[in-house]
């Protein structure tokens, strides 16, 4: 048995040095990136020459995916909805260093997105901006910020709008957000769930949606919905990271690092723009500018003191999101 084992290792070493190796990378991603990473994976496999690379992608709610990796899912690459979830992997499982977000350009986010409104055809309620969402009788669909990354961005976008309105402050922002969630009849656990509730079940008048998810809904069911850009939203930065301990164990570091760097190349940025993510590359962004209207965007680092602070203030147990559902407050 032992001899067979060492023979196998020797054979592995020989083929490894002689020719291209077969490398399989597991990319653990959040909910709406199915289409994006299918396209990016194929483009990368075609362009990367050192090894023969296959990229498998697993999709799910951002928080659930992070938990799966903490519990032992062998992710080589993480591409999640927000930095806090990768922070959690770093903190709870020690699979990558705490300063992972500094290792790649632009906060480790090759593309960005934002939160927009999806309304029904003809915009019957004339919804133009955030304050229209809290009018009498309007129903808003958005997932639960406790379980969905996109919902956390939507919550923060609403908060930033209320705080930045002339005369706004934290007190008024809290009241606005509390009022907004009174208009939410269903809190699904993930972004896709909410999209289904809004489109298939016919619930609600507005869906607070990822920009890319809204464009996808428009593309799949033309003529049924419209996208409304509010006067102010948030710069959503879904980061990417190589999971150090796992790539070292799988001997896949070279390919994994090449893949995350590839996401910043013009070829990849073009694919991201086509899948409705805002590319970082200014020239490619300019090329697709009709698709990505320029509206003022708040940032988590600038307006909320970074994800760790935003997480503990707003979304942790007993945080502001919990408080707005407590009776008598």
């Amino acid at each position: 048995m032992k001899r067979l084992f060492s023979l196998l290792i020797a054979a592995g070493l020989l083929t490894g040095t002689a020719a291209q190796a077969d490398v399989t990378l597991l990319n653990v991603s959040y909910d709406p990136t199915r289409e994006l990473y299918k396209d990016l994976g194929a483009a990368f496999a075609a362009s990367y020459k050192a090894d023969k690379v296959t990229i498998n992608t697993s999709n799910g709610g951002s928080g659930a995916q992070a938990r799966a990796v903490i519990d032992g899912l062998q992710a080589d690459i993480l591409t999640l909805a927000l930095a806090a979830d990768i922070d959690a992997v770093s903190k709870n499982a020690g699979l990558l260093p705490g300063d992972w977000q500094k290792r790649l350009p632009d906060n480790s986010t090759p593309y960005t997105s934002t939160i927009v409104f999806l309304v029904r055809k003809g915009n019957p309620w004339k919804i133009k901006d955030w304050n229209d969402l809290v009018k009498q009788g309007i129903q808003v669909v958005t997932p639960n910020p406790k379980t969905s990354g996109g919902a956390r961005w939507a919550y923060l976008a609403a908060w930033a709008y209320a705080e930045k309105t002339p005369g706004g402050n934290a007190q008024k922002a809290k009241a606005f957000v509390a009022n907004l969630y009174k208009h939410v009849p269903v809190l699904d656990t993930g972004a896709r769930g909410s999209t289904t509730t809004f489109t298939k079940r016919g619930i609600g008048d507005v869906l607070l949606s990822w920009e890319n998810e809204a464009h996808l809904a428009l593309k799949e069911t033309p003529g049924q919905y419209e996208i409304v850009y509010p006067s102010h939203s948030i710069l959503a930065e879904p980061p990417v990271a190589v999971v150090d301990k796992n790539v070292d164990r799988h001997k896949s570091r070279a390919a994994a690092e090449a893949f995350v760097k590839f996401l910043y190349t013009p070829a990849a940025q073009e694919i991201e723009a086509k899948d409705f993510y805002r590319p970082r590359n200014p020239e490619i962004l300019a090329k697709y500018k009709s698709q990505f209207p320029n509206i003022p965007l708040a940032t988590v680092d600038g307006d909320f003191g970074g994800w760790q602070k935003a997480q503990s203030t707003h979304f942790a147990d007993g945080g502001i999101f919990d408080q707005i559902y407590q009776p008598g407050k």
């Binding site: 406790k146 809190l187 298939k200 079940r201 016919g202 147990d317 919990d322």
Partner: protein, 281 residues
């Protein structure tokens, strides 16, 4: 395994068949491995919070509201399932009619269906634009995305438990007993309330207990139809999942322990009631 059994001093001559110690040893081993050790792991986890942390994790109004909803609706669903399960079982056992075999097979579907599929199907039906939901909208009744959605899902998944426990018992009773009651001068209502129901009571309670337990633990089908609004239509298992997604394993286990304890006490009470009603006959 037999070594465990040998140490238990019990009279051996009472059993006609051999193998008591072997089978008892196997039972203990199996129960420990499959049931007790995982439950023990669950119970140990919240201890890292300390007593104060444990109490803080389970005493928030939101957790209490979700526990009330989960246990209240499961109990309600178990009662409804018992009533309708009794009627369904009665029809299936007592009458012969075309399509009976088909109906009999349909009863088991909620067992076999993946819970998420059941949840999506139910929410499609009961949503305001669904077949049933759209009929109720003019009367101002909303089922999907309200606490009543939780009840509908729990009734659906609990029904087979009630029907399947009642069926064999009903089959055994036989019509002679009812005929005897009639010849002795009992009215129809008396026959049912004084003869049939008391004989069925243990099975009714078992079915209700199983439907109840299933409802308390149900996650997959309920979250699709509940609406999941905190304090209103959020079930306790969803709060457990929410806590897990925030990497709060101990807090999740704390709610789990409370549910485990409450379910255990209720099932024990139902078992006691069942034994009592069986001995009374």
């Amino acid at each position: 395994m037999s070594a465990i059994g040998l140490k238990i001093p019990l009279p051996r001559s009472r059993h006609v068949l051999p193998g008591f110690s072997l089978s008892l040893g196997f039972t203990l081993f199996y129960l420990a491995g499959i049931v007790l050790i995982p439950l023990l792991a669950l119970v140990i986890r919240p201890f890292e919070l300390g007593w104060d942390g444990f109490w803080a994790a389970i005493s928030t109004p939101r957790v209490l509201a979700s526990l009330r909803l989960s246990f209240g609706m499961s109990a309600f669903a178990a009662v409804i399932d018992s009533v309708f399960g009794f009627i369904v079982a009665w029809v299936l056992v007592r009458y012969r009619f075309p399509g009976r075999g088909f109906l009999d097979a349909v009863i088991d579907l909620p067992f076999a269906l993946p819970t998420a599929v059941a949840g999506i199907a139910l929410s499609t039906l009961y949503a305001p634009n669904g077949w049933i939901g759209s009929l109720l909208v003019p009367y101002g009744i909303r089922i999907a995305y309200t606490p009543w959605g939780v009840l509908v899902a729990m009734i659906f998944i609990g029904l087979p438990f009630s029907v399947r426990t009642l069926e064999p018992v009903l089959g055994e009773i036989g019509q002679e007993v009812e005929e005897a009651a009639a010849t002795l001068g009992a009215t129809r209502v008396q026959t049912i309330t004084k003869v049939v129901i008391p004989m069925l009571m243990p099975a009714l309670l078992t079915g209700a207990a199983m439907a109840f337990a299933r409802g308390v633990g149900e996650y997959g089908s309920v979250i699709f139809i509940a609406g999941n609004i905190p304090m209103v239509s959020e079930i306790a298992p969803l709060l457990i999942v929410t806590k897990l997604e925030q990497f709060d394993y101990a807090g999740a286990a704390a709610i789990g322990v409370v549910m485990l304890a409450a379910s255990f006490i209720m099932l024990l009470a139902l078992n006691g009631l069942q034994a009592w009603s069986a001995s009374r006959r």
